[in-house]
Symmetry: D2
Subunit: 344 residues, 4 copies
């Protein structure tokens, strides 16, 4: 009964079956195989546009590679102060860009407001040789607070960024969860709103280790093959990345898995809201909750064997996955209620 | 019937089964899972010493990470002129080290001679501020010509390197093939001979994408966790790397797979040597052959549907894998004989 | 009548004379000359300790080189949010460290409080593979607000840093101005208070282009020669850097020049404080003032031919140099008074 | 009587006088001063074309900055195996490019032959993701063997490079010596022959520390200001770099100084050729000689107080400078003759 993160989950049976099935026979290496070609076509179909796809195994690799083609070594990437790329990647963006600077922006509910971005860029030192040059905006959808940017919010941010000459990256580690939450199309949530390059996550939502770096602007794709290889992220047996993505994107599996995770998070949120003394910090748009438990309740939950992530002194993060058992959700709620009563 | 490379092969059934089996249930992420702990113990057992293990998904990542802890940005890594790290990794060592220089050394049969290394180091500019500083030696076992360094050759190279203050890395993309060929222990072929850090390949020999970066000197391990994360090579669902390695190293599967590949290469070499006009370029120690075919024969083989790698104008590389079908080997030999006769 | 910065000033006659005198005759290149040896001895004498000296031509080079030996690529340098290294060096620290992160700390009067540093380090993620690792503290003396850290403040900061395993760098672009202001010894303001490495500025205080990177910990000096050369900062005709420093440090010239600049800033501050509607923002410890003029006054000063730096919408920076003419100071005060009266 | 290098010489009186004269008065910093503007105009006049100029203090900085705008991190710079950038800059090109690879080419007399470059580029792996991508050619004029490329040779090399999509850099550490030797115009030796960016040396030929990075292609200039600042090579008191260059380029001083140096080298060569047992290794086109002395003579010259550079076991390098005293040349010849006689 582990709500620590969606990366403590395993992989979807469909994904595992695809690997087993696709393992037979010789196949061209380094991405020249037919599975990779089919995955690219499938992603183009999903996004209703021409694009380039670079499968990689981790979100950090995807994000850092994306930034490396948006931002020169003397550039700056604007991002939320709590963003994974800034806080949790041990400096991967700095490594891949050759030493660019991440400029953290504050913003409610884990989201950057377009007006705040505009204000920051007005003082961003563009053209001044003494300052790193504003080059990219990176937003996270689902945000690190479990909230979604609306399509309009994305468009306002991208528009602000583009007017200042920045490229726009979306860290979509939980892309499917956000998409399901908004109920829009992949195209609407990305390139139609101004996203130039997207890390489309698969790992957290049922893959073993597979993300698709999706490039909507052809000129950004030119260097990526070289940069991916140079970073050690070009798989020789690429089929094993692509097979995951193919199964993940077939028959709307990815959307069904995300819908399940979101539903469980909603169920969990509804149950916890009914418990006195328990507070939920941000809108629960996707599959994550940030909850303020009374300290005794938080400790009690751990003692009862529930896994969770201690976000800070006040907040606990709970994440539902593609395979979260509704019975676990109900047990969590019931235990919380019991502990809360005892504490009262 | 594809002899292009061992990376056109799929994965061993045992590896795939382990993934399917280990996918159930929640498990701590980022390497804190029990599978990863067991793999480390197993590798320590295999090498009969204390060591640190960092699973990664590609050999390029393993090699480049190894060099990044052996060599400062102003350093030099000595390697064979034909080595994968120098020629085929799009500058990954330079990227990971922050701009070190690779110093290519010539040497017969894809191997560096200790005397040549010594001579190079005597003119290596150590201590002179104008020159990059000799910091590491990297050797490949199986070499890029399919040959093995003997244990004594490794020891002589490592000794020369250590006397000049260099650390020693072994690129073991085909480690198992070399080990089986030499018939020595993993310890004898590595740390007992002076290897400080090893990229122990699994991918080419039956894994999907799994290599173990094995560190014999504790002080080299200190930075590796950070550098791996920063490079995007720390898998969140690490179990899926470790499950591959666990299955690979269980019940001597790895050695059996390598023995099979080597045997098929030997069978292929024996068959081709009997064909007039066909020459084999280097000793066939492991699972690779470099063959000089008459041009018409080479073309005929492609036309007949055989996959191979065009090494240069003269040489063709043929690689046998863990799952190469002996019938394919025999067909290759027979076709070569037939084409050779026609050409005569 | 230019108060824009101390770098709009030329060079002290003594420095120019030394260059002219030392230009004759052949002299060993790349720092093997006797002038450089004498400068090192002189600096050791000034600081009353053994140390290593690396002359460079710019403060940015000195700062970035210092950080490159204190902080690994996956590390973090803690500094004031307004520090030159963070704001005004176009990412030089990131470049030289191979992509480390600068962590900006707020603090009154341009100074970091030890308690704030401690609090930041308590949440700095030390040992956690997901976060850049706290590695260095960099403080600026004179700060970017023209204030001085007291010896006790420096010691408290360095002690906090050292207890967390960080090395401590002082950006002493205006080192002499701070020293004169505090009236302590160079040793007291640096290594006795816990500074490990110092960029000791000469350029702003009468040299043409000369800074001394002063290393108090021998192990930090080991890599610096290579890193300086690799960065293109090892002068072939090194004598021309060292001659500047030699003249600068002879007969207390550096202290006299700084005392003059500080005195003029004091005179300017005193005069401006007497003008109604004019406010001075920070303590005027050295040779810089940050002044809030009524808008009409600020514009009038420019129109009257006075050079200044527009710090932000409210504040104007005025800097006095080693050769600032007291008559210019008096003219500035008088003009301000006149403009203020007109505006009233 | 030091023939070790032209960097053991001091600076020309005209250059020193210009510094002294230009030091008075306030002047805008960081290159916004009128001297820097005049220098740019003067260089445009000399090269008879529009161009951008970035003054820096060292040749290593100039070369590495030039490569950083010609070559991406995953690129390769082709250069002579003996080139300064490859051998003597402690990896500066790798640092500035973010880890590009230098590809050393052999070639007689320190020069690359266009046919050899073409052959190397034909196997350069362009477009193949596994290999670093050919991006730039860097040639040295005067070469490291003291020889000049003819204008036709430069054009053939640049044409080969451009046809393969490479940019072309000239390391002109001894640009004036080569120009005087060839008797052509600066334009003919550079952009008219296909040079895209030039490090035009001043230091070795009478400046203290001043080189001009001259950019003939506007698009290459766009990033250079940021990269120079970020590398710590933007001088705050830029006038002191520009004053050197202004004096150096006024009244053909630079050509007169180079002509003097070349003439002394010619005189030295002529004298030494007459000494039995003494051999001169390469054409003496400029101000450098590479001489094979009998061992006893070489030792005797050192004992007699002559400075020289021990190039290798066989060759001794002798360099004449802008201020080499003809009497020293004659003394060197006479001493060699005497020692040779004694040794016979």
């Amino acid at each position: 009964m582990n709500f620590y993160s969606d990366n403590v989950a395993g992989a979807a049976p469909e994904v595992l079956a695809a690997l087993a099935e696709g393992a037979a026979g010789a196949m061209a290496s380094y991405g020249a195989d037919p599975v990779t070609a089919r995955v690219t076509d499938r992603i183009a179909e999903i996004f209703e546009t021409e694009l380039a796809v670079f499968p990689v195994a981790t979100g950090t690799a995807g994000n850092a590679l994306a930034m490396s083609v948006l931002c020169p070594p003397f550039g700056a990437v604007y991002c939320h102060a709590g963003s994974h790329a800034h806080v949790d990647e041990c400096g991967a963006p700095e490594f891949y860009t050759g030493g660019a600077k991440l400029v953290p922006l504050d913003g409610a509910d884990g989201k950057i407001a377009a007006a705040d971005l505009a204000r920051a860029l007005d003082h961003g030192g563009a053209g001044d040789v003494h300052h790193v040059q504003p080059a990219a905006l990176s937003i996270t959808q689902l945000s690190e607070c479990g909230t979604t940017y609306t399509v309009d919010e994305i468009a306002a941010l991208a528009d602000t960024a583009h007017r200042h000459g920045l490229g726009v990256h979306m860290d979509g580690a939980r892309f499917a969860n956000a998409l399901v939450a908004l109920g829009c199309t992949p195209a609407e949530m990305t390139w139609k709103a101004g996203i130039d390059i997207l890390t489309m996550g698969g790992t957290k939502n049922g893959c073993m280790a597979a993300e698709a770096l999706v490039v909507f602007k052809p000129e950004l794709a030119r260097e990526l093959g070289f940069r991916r290889k140079r970073a050690g992220h070009l798989f020789s047996k690429m089929r094993f990345l692509s097979l995951q993505l193919e199964a993940y994107l077939a028959d709307d599996l990815w959307l069904r898995l995300a819908a399940h995770a979101n539903a469980q998070a909603g169920r969990l949120a509804a149950g916890l809201r009914a418990v006195p003394g328990v507070e939920i910090a941000y809108p629960v748009d996707g599959n994550q909750l940030f909850v303020a438990f009374p300290p005794a309740v938080r400790e009690g939950l751990a003692a009862a064997g529930f896994g969770y992530s201690t976000w800070d002194e006040r907040l606990t993060r709970l994440v539902c996955a593609f395979n979260t058992d509704p019975a676990h959700v109900d047990a969590f709620i019931a235990t919380t209620a019991r502990l809360s009563e005892q504490a009262a």
